[in-house]
């Protein structure tokens, strides 16, 4: 046997009709690559009567896990076919590691195998999950209302410091980003309108466009999408990591409902803050539009604001504010729900956060469509 060869070498040899001898030699290092199991399978196919495999590693020059990988795989094949493995020919180090690796039989009924199912089955599983999801959503909403009921009955108190911290996080701390985004959105609206309106010499109507656009739609929408990405995600991450850390279980066993203690203050905070943020976003958007109006279209600031005031009666602001209240509830519920149903690993927290943002944005857009239809039917 050429023990100086660079590569691993395999020799099959039949001792008798019942025994297959497998001699391994050369360098069995992971870096050299590993042989696949085809040859031994071929060998076993060729003569089905084999009842015993003798392994021999006495000529192996160097080895590491590569050798063990091969041996363990051979062992698995042998077990499946009820073939005995004879370990006499293994060198001591190899034998002890080999025995260690095959000491505990592979777990076969862990419910994790057979996961790859036919695609139609996958559709079925997804559909069933969707059903579960819907049920869970209504359960969650129901629990929120029960919790709210307990609050009004005075059975639970909001933890004052906690509540104010959350309130601060949902409101004042979001102001810088809301300012930036709203001013830019106002400017964009003004630009888009300006090009069209200039053709008719009707630049002054930019004020109407920006004012209406911000008040009815964009103020509420932008503020709530920002809050979905900022605060909704934060809710999911906070509650999710508390779930991972067993902190939520600890609350439950202390007899404190996580719903009352964690979810309720978050939903109330965001529901209070979102309309305020919406009003602020409206103002900022109108200021952004005014910039464009004053510096690009040469409208005087006073004229711009008078035009805005005439074009946008307060009822339009009310529409936007009502919408933002609804969005606030949705963003908070999405964040808290995804956080509470988080799994027990670090990866699950990431998933929960992603899901919270996606869910919130979908809900915002869908409910905005419904509300817009509703308001137009009501002629507001």
């Amino acid at each position: 046997m050429d023990t100086l060869s660079k590569e691993y070498e395999l020799n099959f040899h039949r001792d008798s009709s019942h025994t297959l001898q497998v001699r391994l030699s050369g360098k069995w290092k992971i870096g050299n690559g590993l042989p696949n199991q085809e040859r031994i399978l071929d060998e076993l196919e060729k003569e089905p009567g084999i009842r015993k495999i003798k392994l021999d590693t006495n000529d192996v020059a160097q080895w590491d896990s590569g050798l063990l990988v091969y041996l363990v795989e051979v062992n698995r094949i042998a077990e499946k076919r009820d073939i005995k493995i004879c370990k006499e020919g293994l060198t001591d180090g190899v034998r002890s590691l080999f025995e260690l690796a095959s000491a505990v039989p592979e777990q076969t009924d862990s419910g994790k195998l057979g996961k790859s199912s036919f695609w139609i089955a996958t559709i079925g599983i997804r559909a069933r999950e969707l059903g579960h999801d819907t049920v869970k959503f209504f359960e969650f909403i129901g629990n929120v209302f029960l919790s709210l009921g307990r609050l009004f009955q005075g059975k639970v108190r909001l933890q004052r410091t906690d509540f104010f911290l959350i309130l601060q996080d949902c409101g004042p701390k979001a102001l810088p980003i809301i300012t930036l985004i709203s001013i830019l959105v106002g400017m964009i609206l003004a630009f888009v309108g300006a090009i069209q309106l200039k053709m008719f010499g009707a630049q002054i109507y930019v004020a109407n466009l920006v004012g209406l656009g911000m008040a009815r739609e964009m103020g509420a929408m932008m503020a709530s999408i920002i809050m979905a990405g900022r605060t909704g995600a934060a809710f999911a991450a906070q509650l999710g990591s508390m779930r991972v850390n067993e902190e939520i279980d600890a609350l439950t066993t202390a007899g404190i409902s996580p719903m009352d203690f964690l979810v309720l203050p978050r939903i109330i905070s965001l529901t209070i803050m979102m309309p305020l943020l919406c009003i602020y976003a409206n103002l900022m958007g109108i200021i952004g539009g005014a910039f464009v109006g004053v510096f690009m279209l040469d409208i005087s600031p006073v004229a711009y604001f008078i035009q805005t005031r005439e074009a946008v009666p307060l009822i339009h602001f009310a529409v936007g504010i009502i919408k933002s209240g609804v969005f606030g509830v949705l963003v908070a519920v999405a964040g808290c729900m995804r956080g509470m149903e988080c799994g027990q690993s670090a990866g699950a927290v990431g998933d929960a956060t992603t899901k919270a943002v996606v869910t919130a944005i979908v809900w915002i857009i869908v409910s905005d469509a419904l509300l817009t239809i509703m308001f137009s039917i009501m002629d507001i």
């Binding site: 862990s110 067993e246 279980d249 600890a250 202390a254 404190i256």
Partner: protein
Amino acid sequence: MIPNDSPHIVVENLTMAYGDFVIQRDLNFTINRADIFIIMGGSGCGKSTLMRILIGLKRPAKGNVHYGDTNLWEVDSEQRREIMKGCGVLYQRGALWSSMTMAENIALPLREYTDLGPDQIRRVVSLKLALVGLAGFEEFYPSEISGGMQKRAGLARAMAMDPDILFFDEPSAGLDPISAHRLDKLILELRDSLGATIVVVTHELASIFNIGNNSVFLDAESKTMIASGDPKKLRKESDNPTVQQFLTRGMSNTEEKT
């Protein structure tokens, strides 16, 4: 104090599962008052899951858990919460509320469920922290102390309401031998002085023999309990090889030979 033999928790035909994946089946055992009851078995055999069922966090797939006359999983959630309030739990990872200081962690259940004033609560909190050797750590946040200290603080929180039954999930895992020994002594002390029933999930042999007077052994392979009773007796008398190997740290064969 000699444990009196009135049953505190009775488990009947319990089967636990995650979805379709059965972890353990046909569990039957009784935890008596003032027992120190050990739930043991290799890792992954379902000890923590059993504890979650006993404290009302996870519904069993089949079977009953009785607290005295009450069937934990048949009463409504309000009554279950009442029972849970009487349980103190130390979680495997401590599970301190990370946004609160040590003092606030221990004070929260007291504030919610007792009429104590802020000053009295502070004194109780100091006492509980002192009991677990953490006097002076009131204003620390969980992230500011070591893992072993978090575990002890978790114990202080579990004891906050002087519960009549305490659950410990692997209390000495991650503790140095001296702290682990201290913890064992504390557990014995709690049982003797307060008459509390104590359920400990552990695979530390030293603790098992030092403190346990009753136990159940869960086996991952056969997916059921394969022994129960006083662990010291089990070591002497059990003829089940898995139990023997576990309780003698796999040394039984060599001992027999010598």
